[in-house]
Structure formats: structure tokens, C-alpha cells
Symmetry: C2
């Protein structure tokens, strides 16, 4: 697995969940993720943020999902 692949997976899965809910990055960051800054959140979706395990658990709990869902293959190949 390429370096940065975990970050890309988390970002792509958050984007997938956001699109399923049909909301903008700004609204998803502000409302669903309860006050995350829009610009910071955009970096997460692009796989540019080196998130910690606690941050991932926190976002998953705010979204009501299992944190492991953020590590699955976003194209659903697995």
C-alpha cells in the first residue's frame, strides 16, 4: 500500500458519505462534524491531513458510523 493511502481512504470515504447526504464541504464540516473548519475539512477530503486515531473515532462517532468504515476501499472493491 502506497504511503498516504490511509489518509486518502479516510478522505475519500468522508467525501462519499458527504455526497450521499448531498451537502457541501462547508455544511458537512460545520454541522455534521460539529464545527470543523471548512478549509481544514477540505484538506482531510484530499488526504492531506495526518489524522490521529482519536480524531477518526471522533468523526465516526459524530457521523454515527463504525470508524473502520473510513478505512474500507472507497470504490467498494473489497
Amino acid at each position: 500500500m502506497a504511503i498516504g493511502e490511509l489518509h486518502r481512504r479516510v478522505g475519500a470515504n468522508l467525501r462519499r458519505l458527504r455526497k450521499q447526504r448531498g451537502v457541501s464541504q462547508a455544511r458537512f464540516a460545520e454541522e455534521e462534524l460539529e464545527g470543523l473548519h471548512r478549509v481544514y475539512y477540505g484538506g482531510i477530503e484530499r488526504g492531506e491531513q495526518n489524522l490521529s486515531l482519536s480524531a477518526i473515532e471522533d468523526y465516526a462517532s459524530r457521523l454515527g458510523i463504525d470508524p473502520l468504515e473510513l478505512f474500507r476501499d472507497p470504490e467498494g472493491a473489497e
Copy 2:
């Protein structure tokens, strides 16, 4: 999933890999993980360290495994 479960999974999977190789925490930290402090590594195994995605990718690459292996159910139920 309980808060801290990701940290516990990574720790338990590292412990499982270490035991498969039959080495102590000190040797695993120093040699396999190339210079990690033994005490810090002990905390990782206990699920007490809030690792970042880059750290997890780094340890996986030093161990020659897929980083996702560190998130699987350590008891192999999945």
C-alpha cells in the same frame, strides 16, 4: 465501536505480530521498528498511544505488512 478501540486494535495486532516473531518488546521496538523507544512502544501495545495515520503506515512498512492489517480484529473473528 468503543472509544479507543482503534488504538487497542493496533496495539493488539502489533503484539500478535511480535509474538509470532518470538521477540521481546524491547527488541521489537529497537530492531523491527527501527529505534522506537521500548517504553513508548509498550504504550502502543496497550492501546495508550494516539497514533497518527503516518505513524501507522511507517510501522507497517518497516514490518513489511499492509497497514490495514493493524486494524483487523486481533482475535481474527472478522
